[in-house]
């Protein structure tokens, strides 16, 4: 039998940790984004070469010697408790080493929820009691020498249950509705002026309710971990956005010091918020690995991820919008009921968007949490903003029609260009009007015939053009950067950066590389970026809330400033680092930065594994990113299938740190918006509990044939206040507003105002 490596042709083994290689010629912002700004040559995606070779190692790609495999067993009731397990048949399967059911107290304790000051995706650890909190919850874990044996044995574990009534929809009997401002006082409702009075006297009034389904992130990489005890130390390989929380979460559950855990996560195969905290399978898995004395790999089966991972909660939004006859918005009341679990309070921030999208003087928001029997919801891409924009921007479109105004002009007339209506502080930068104008231009909006159903193709296809805008906080988190410069001769210098950050495909390695090559004059191939690895100094604070670039880059910028100073080089402007370093011993230094106004004790929070993001409100200003989307829908004359042949999106994300990956982020966000509007609806089963649509067949994601032209343009004006690099946020704002732009185009084509997602064929028949 040949050795394993014999099958690897060419260069062979996968590049580990820091596989940064670059090929191809430099690209320019202009060439990629259709943007006139051209500041420096930019790298293509620096890890693309490894990715097209299949050489990047994700969480389950490690195959250590003596590896065993784990398969979870999940509950088949909606709620209740396990009275008794029968594991006899499972244990008899050849190769089975362990059937772990209820974990005795003292061996594992539940880590607290990340939004309650903890680390975990939810504050309830399955298997530490006899509870079944929701259908699909893990109740046992089987470990065997092979995956087939573990799978077979897992199917043979049976449980006898005692069932309890459960509620899985917002309206079901047995839910519990809580006022967020009361139960989570640090998330108060947004109130400005007297919205109820101003609405009552508004000459034009709109009042409508919008329903959002549960949705699932479904990165193509499954939730997976490979864990290995080396003596008293635990090595975790798991793709995550938050190695720090994974480390502290598993240490907490096992009752060991976090110093004894290392988390290695050089690249995640997509994350989208689902991988932003300590996951529910890891504690039992680490315990199982200790019991069997071997490395164990767990790849959560796709169907189980619908209950094992967090999700976008179901929501119902009532929005009332008051305006005068010229279209000037006077008042808005935005009331949201959204799902949480029995065991956690998932804080909502829907009005963060609606309160500051326009210059509305009187505003009242109200968030209510509805407890249901599900796993705790989470931060799926643009968690609140996507669906809040669906409600708000559908209402704004309705207002435009009601008054006979052009939807673009109406939005421009209500812009809040300089001041945050909520805080009264200035916006750091806001180029929303330019996004709208440029988008209208690129789309050809002037050719739109305003009448509903007025644009038809010869074959009877209905054509609709819609517009909507979006915003997303420009958040920031604390970061530590360790910079090492090492001369490779007179012309070359290697710069190695280790920084708080995670690469989930958004392109953080490329953005970092661009910053360093632009600042220090070193070659792209001489920059090595280490992220998602707790073995260095930076604790690997979470990369979420679109703060990755605006968090890592300022810390690196500060480190580069220190390096210049230490080498006696000028503080800014072009330098020749290879020449300056030639003949010198390597230099290593570190710098750290935090969000404007963050207190110094934030470092203690980060060191303890906690989340410490800030924004959009900072002490002296508010910072947001913006986007405008223009969408064409075509609705087939007979079967009424809705297609989206073209989208134009223009984003203001501050300075563009990496044109190649930024443009791709926006395209990806638009595709997420198309999926969220026309495909993705999580179906729950009120009779049995849990999610019914628990496969990629039943929960349909957009496929290649669903996607037409997506024209992306970036304003690329550095933000002057938020940080030294001028970057804001991008990954999530790119999705915000796509849903209402599509819904508004559907209205334009058909005269149907659809207020529930996803929009289905039956809505337009």
């Amino acid at each position: 039998m040949p050795t394993r490596r014999n099958f690897l042709r060419g260069a062979g083994a996968a590049t580990a940790l820091v596989g940064v290689e670059t090929v191809g010629s430099p690209l320019t912002a202009a060439a990629l984004a259709g943007d006139e700004t051209l500041r420096q040559p930019y790298a293509r995606r620096v890890d693309a070469r490894d990715k097209v070779r299949g050489a990047v190692q994700y969480g389950a790609d490690h195959v250590p010697a003596r590896l065993t495999h784990a398969v979870p067993v999940v509950a088949t009731i909606g709620k209740g408790r396990v009275v008794e397990f029968d594991t006899t048949a499972a244990e008899a399967v050849p190769g089975v080493r362990l059937v772990l059911t209820r974990i005795p107290p003292g061996e594992l304790r539940s880590a607290p929820f990340i939004m309650a000051g903890g680390f975990a995706v939810q504050g309830y650890q399955p298997m530490t009691s006899d509870r079944v909190a929701y259908r699909g919850q893990m109740i046992a874990l089987v470990v065997a020498d092979t995956l087939v044996a573990a799978t077979e044995a897992a199917a043979l574990v049976t449980a006898r249950y005692e069932t309890e009534p459960f509620a899985v929809t917002l309206d079901a009997d047995g839910t519990e509705t809580l006022l967020q401002a009361t139960v989570i006082p640090r998330f108060p409702d947004t109130v400005m002026g007297d919205a109820d009075a101003a609405y009552a006297t508004s000459p034009v009034k709109l009042d409508a309710t919008y329903d959002g389904p549960p949705q699932h992130a479904m990165p193509i990489e499954l939730l997976a971990s490979t864990v290995e005890w080396q003596g008293e130390n635990l090595i975790v390989r798991e793709s995550t956005q938050n190695a720090n929380a994974v480390r502290h979460g598993v240490a907490y559950e096992l009752g060991i010091s976090a110093d004894r855990v290392e988390v290695i996560s050089p690249s995640a195969g997509g994350a989208f918020g689902q991988k932003n905290s300590f996951q529910m399978h890891l504690g039992p898995l680490a315990l199982a690995a200790r019991r069997v004395g071997r490395p164990v790999k767990l790849v959560v089966p796709r169907t189980q991820t619908f209950h094992a991972g967090s999700f976008r909660p179901a929501s119902r939004q009532r929005i009332r919008l008051g305006a005068d006859r010229s279209g000037r918005m006077l008042a808005a009341i935005h009331e949201i009921d959204a799902q949480t679990s029995r065991h956690d309070l998932f804080p909502m921030q829907y009005t963060e968007l609606t309160g500051r999208m326009y210059d509305i003087p009187d505003f009242r928001g109200r968030h209510q949490l509805v407890r249901t029997d599900a796993q705790t919801p989470g931060y799926m891409r643009a968690p609140f903003e996507h669906i809040a924009a669906f409600a708000l921007e559908s209402s704004v479109d309705e207002l435009a029609y009601k008054l006979g105004k052009d939807p673009v002009a109406l939005r421009l007339a209500n812009d809040a260009p300089t001041t945050d209506p909520i805080s009264g502080h200035p916006f750091t930068s806001r180029h929303l009007a330019e996004c709208l104008r440029r988008g209208a231009d690129r789309f050809g909006w002037v050719d739109r015939r305003p009448g509903v159903g007025s644009m038809r193709a010869k074959d009877g296809t209905l054509i609709g053009w819609g517009v909507a805008v979006g915003a997303y906080k420009a958040a920031t988190a604390p970061a530590t950067a360790v910079l090492r410069a090492e001369s490779l001769g007179r012309r070359r210098c290697r710069v190695t950066i280790t920084v708080d950050g995670h690469e989930m495909g958004q392109g953080i390695r490329t953005a970092i590389t661009n910053l360093i090559t632009g600042n220090l004059g070193v070659a792209t191939e001489d920059v090595v970026v280490v992220v998602g690895d707790t073995r260095g100094v930076p604790p690997q604070h979470s990369t979420a809330g679109s703060w990755g670039t605006a968090t890592a880059l300022p810390a690196i910028d500060a480190a580069m400033g220190k390096l210049r100073e230490q080498l006696g080089l000028r503080p800014s402007g072009p330098i020749d680092l290879p020449a300056a370093m030639s003949g010198r011993a390597p230099v290593e230094l570190q710098a750290r930065t935090k969000a404007p106004g963050q207190p110094d004790d934030v470092w203690d929070r980060v060191a303890a594994g906690g989340a410490a993001g800030a924004g959009p409100e900072y002490p002296a200003f508010t910072s947001m990113s913006y986007i405008a989307h223009f969408v064409e829908v075509r609705i087939e004359p007979r079967i009424r299938r809705i297609r989206v042949p073209r989208v134009v999106s223009v984003a203001d994300c501050g300075r563009v740190a990496s044109p190649v990956t930024a443009v791709s982020q926006v395209r990806g966000g638009v595709i997420w918006g198309i999926g969220a509007t026309l495909r993705e609806g999580g179906e729950v089963d009120p009779r049995f509990g849990g999610f019914l649509s628990a496969s990629l067949e039943d929960y349909a994601l957009p496929v290649n044939a669903d996607i037409g032209d997506i024209d992306v343009s970036l304003i690329d004006k550095p933000d002057p206040l938020l940080n030294s690099v001028g970057v804001k946020s991008l990954g999530e704002v790119s999705m915000v507003g796509v849903a209402p732009a599509i819904a508004n185009a559907v209205w334009h084509a058909t005269g149907r105002r659809v207020r529930r997602l996803p929009i289905r064929i039956e809505d337009v028949i």
């Binding site: 099958f7 060419g10 996968a14 097209v52 299949g54 992130a217 193509i220 495909g505 990629l696």
Partner: protein, 168 residues
């Protein structure tokens, strides 16, 4: 325990002989093992990814005798005597990239890279099948490969350009 299933005894192992990326492989497999799991867990060829294990995502796409298959739904015993090509076998003997791999880089046809090995294997097959007459056809024949990151435009552009340049 009313619904307990009788424990099946493990079926006898089956000796397989096939080639992977041009090299002969001999493995004794459980007849229930998928080609995907044999490649990943037994032969250390982890470039081929698991995204669903149900034939619904395409991340596990490999070639068997030159045709694309989802390896998660291919029992390993089915490839006895056949030639399997995985992403690790696409580049040249000295590590030079296949033109389609280079085009994926040039058109930024990926983000996280997790679906990418499957996209490349499907893209190669799409060209070999002659399903590259226009973008619509490429999109249709690449729709078995999900990309949650949404790198579809780059994938279509990479296949279009490579097909044109290599005469497919």
């Amino acid at each position: 325990m009313d619904n307990a299933l009788p424990a099946a005894s493990a079926p006898a192992a089956v000796d397989l002989a096939f080639t992977v990326n041009g090299s002969p492989a001999k493995v004794a497999v459980d007849p229930r093992e998928s080609l995907l799991d044999v490649l990943r867990e037994r032969l250390d060829l982890t470039g081929t990814k698991k995204g669903c294990d149900h034939g619904q995502c395409g991340a596990c796409t490999v070639h068997v005798d030159g045709r694309r298959v989802v390896s998660c739904l291919t029992a390993a015993v089915q490839v006895d005597g056949r030639a399997v090509t995985t992403i690790e076998g696409v580049e040249g003997p000295d590590g030079e990239l296949h033109p389609l791999q280079q085009a994926f880089i040039d058109h930024d046809a990926l983000q996280c890279g997790y679906c990418t090995p499957g996209q490349v294997m499907s893209g190669l097959a799409c060209m070999a099948e002659g399903h590259t007459r226009d973008d619509a056809e490429i999109r249709e024949y690449m729709s078995g490969n999900l990309c949650r990151c949404g790198a579809y435009a780059g994938i279509v552009a990479a296949i279009r350009e490579t097909a044109r340049r290599t005469g497919h």
